[in-house]
């Protein structure tokens, strides 16, 4: 299996705080990688570094054989890296349709293709009925869907999801998982950040565990729950 994304010794500091400490990960094409860790362990920061929202202080991000460490976020999107934000970020005063279509339009030159792709993304996420609504009128679940639609509309090779299940009911989580599986079957690679390991058991073949910005475990989720250090980190929080 050839790797799609390689992070080599990524380090990110905020003042004195080391949010990521020499973290290296590798993700294969078509894989679903889970990233877990307690609050403040650096998961979101890792997503920010991969998507280019933050630049690493040290280390490299290599995507599809190309060093993207210094590229701006929108360039990475056009190369095939998409992301969602923790807690759903949308343009509150633009209709759902434009929330999705603007990303499509910035990647595809041809307006007809952009439009068709937008319709496809809205269909996959079951948002056609809400296309004219403003995000401020939507439920948290639908907002999450808007974010996912926006992330997949640019034809990504790699999608980074930051806590996609947070605040959703069990059925809603199933819906999100279905979409992830569907796209994964089409060959899209995922990195899924989750606070809780439970949801990743079904999805990810492999998880990385972060604690205080350090990678403390890498392997199948079934082994993660047996690992002593991981259990220790989660003591009180609960692994499952």
């Amino acid at each position: 299996m050839s790797s799609l994304l390689v992070c080599e010794g990524v380090t990110k500091r905020f003042g004195g705080l080391v949010a990521l400490n020499n973290v290296s990960i590798e993700v294969g094409k078509g894989e679903i990688l889970g990233i877990i860790g307690p609050n403040g362990s650096g998961k979101t920061t890792l997503i920010n570094v991969i998507s280019g929202v933050l630049l690493p202080d040290d280390g490299r991000v290599i995507f599809d054989g190309k060093d993207v460490s210094k590229l701006k976020p929108h360039v990475r999107v056009s190369l095939g890296i998409s992301r969602t934000f923790q807690g759903s970020r949308v343009y509150p005063y633009l209709p759902v349709y434009y929330n999705v279509a603007l990303s499509a339009r910035s990647v595809y030159r041809d307006p007809e293709i952009a439009r068709a792709k937008t319709n496809w993304a809205l269909t996959v996420t079951k948002l056609i009925a809400e296309a004219v609504e403003l995000p401020i009128n939507l439920t948290p679940f639908k907002l999450r869907m808007v974010e996912i639609a926006r992330a997949i509309v640019t034809n990504p090779k790699l999608v980074l999801l930051d806590e996609p299940f947070a605040g959703l009911s069990a059925e809603e989580v199933e819906e999100v998982i279905k979409i992830i599986n569907k796209l994964n079957n089409l060959g899209v690679t995922f990195i899924i950040v989750e606070h809780k390991l439970r949801y990743l058991m079904k999805l990810a073949e492999r998880v990385v565990v972060l604690n205080n910005g350090i990678k403390i475990f890498e392997g199948p989720p079934s082994e993660a729950i047996k690992d002593r250090e991981v259990i220790q980190v989660y003591l009180g929080g609960g692994v499952s």
């Binding site: 949308v90 209709p95 910035s106 056609i128 640019t154």
Partner: protein, 341 residues
């Protein structure tokens, strides 16, 4: 949901109201309105360009480009200086002046457009004021006209001289009115198209969450720069026309109270980013302003400012919904006009 594009006939029907308004406005001189009020409308046309400039960029991104006074002022001064030093009359100098003003404002504002909204806005407000003190103090006042300004022949005055003296001023007033009306109509149509195009929505997206826009694929620097350029072009055109129609060119064009506050009021009162609202408000407020002169005289400036404060505090963003309603139908058409795999 088989849904064809609207027929040509239906699309024409949609444009009937706006075309009617444009034609009616162009017919105003035929009603016998001349002299002072025609001048007021000509000035309102020029201010309409400033209003469009402000609404297109600041109304969508919420980055206050308070520098429209600077841009308009620079192009006015270039028109004046080209006459003073090269003998170029406004007929020829308007276009080079616009180009120079755009280049100048881009060089100065580019670093702050890239960075942060706050710095950009403060810089853009204070810059024209610095220009004023530069122009009115030694030694530059000798070259830039100082307090008295720079005299120049007004636009088309060489043609007017061929007419008998009594017909000259009416001819000029009418020509200026039609010229500025035509330019304003073109600018308004283009601004409207742009504000409601994908590009316009990208500007709005940047205004609502710039980090998200960048992270979801929009080249925010490029979009902001392009938006700024279009906006600058409109402001520079207004400035050059103002110089050519109302000489001499004095520091008055640079003073934000004169050239920034009226468009800003129109944009906020009319609904930020809607183009039509600010445009209509521009004409209403300018005519009202003239009518108010008799009633409250110099207090009108203060009345304007108080109105601005009250408006800003009372209705921060109610206008957004106007855009939204307008979009419902457009989106429905887009969704149904394309098939996908």
């Amino acid at each position: 949901m088989a849904f064809a594009k609207p027929s040509i006939k239906r699309r024409l029907v949609r444009y009937v109201p706006s075309i009617t308004i444009m034609v009616a406005y162009s017919c105003i001189p035929l009603l016998g309105i001349r002299g002072f009020w025609l001048d007021v409308l000509t000035r309102a046309n020029i201010f309409a360009l400033l209003t469009l400039s402000l609404d297109l960029y600041s109304g969508t991104t919420f980055y206050l480009n308070l520098g429209i006074s600077f841009i308009a002022g620079s192009s006015a001064y270039v028109v004046a200086l080209l006459y003073r030093y090269l003998g170029m009359v406004p007929e020829y100098s308007i276009i080079p002046a616009i180009a120079v003003a755009i280049a100048l404002s881009t060089v100065i504002f580019l670093p702050s457009i890239r960075v942060r909204g706050v710095y950009f806005s403060v810089l853009s407000l204070l810059l024209p004021l610095i220009m004023v003190s530069l122009i009115t103090s030694q030694p530059l006042s000798l070259y830039l006209g100082g307090e008295g300004g720079i005299p120049l022949p007004s636009l088309f005055s060489s043609y007017a001289r061929m007419l008998p003296p009594r017909e000259r001023i009416p001819f000029l007033q009418l020509t200026w009115f039609y010229l500025t009306t035509a330019l304003t109509i073109v600018a308004a149509v283009l601004s409207y198209k742009l504000a409601y195009s994908n590009f316009g929505f990208m500007l709005r997206a940047i205004g609502q969450d710039e980090e998200l826009a960048e992270a979801s694929g929009i080249d925010t620097t490029r979009v902001k720069l392009l938006g700024f350029l279009v906006s600058s072009t409109l402001a520079a055109t207004a400035g050059a026309l103002y110089a050519a129609i109302r000489p001499p060119v004095t520091v008055d064009v640079l003073i934000p109270a004169n050239t920034l506050v009226p468009p800003l009021t129109a944009v906020i009162l009319g609904g930020m980013g809607t183009i039509i609202g600010p445009l209509a408000t521009n004409y209403i407020t300018i005519v009202a302003y003239e009518l108010l002169w008799d009633a409250i005289g110099r207090w009108r400036t203060i009345a304007y400012m108080l109105l601005l404060i009250v408006l800003v505090i009372l209705k921060p963003q109610g206008v957004v919904f106007h855009i939204y309603l307008k979009l419902r139908k457009a989106i429905a058409t887009k969704l149904s006009s394309v098939t996908w795999r």
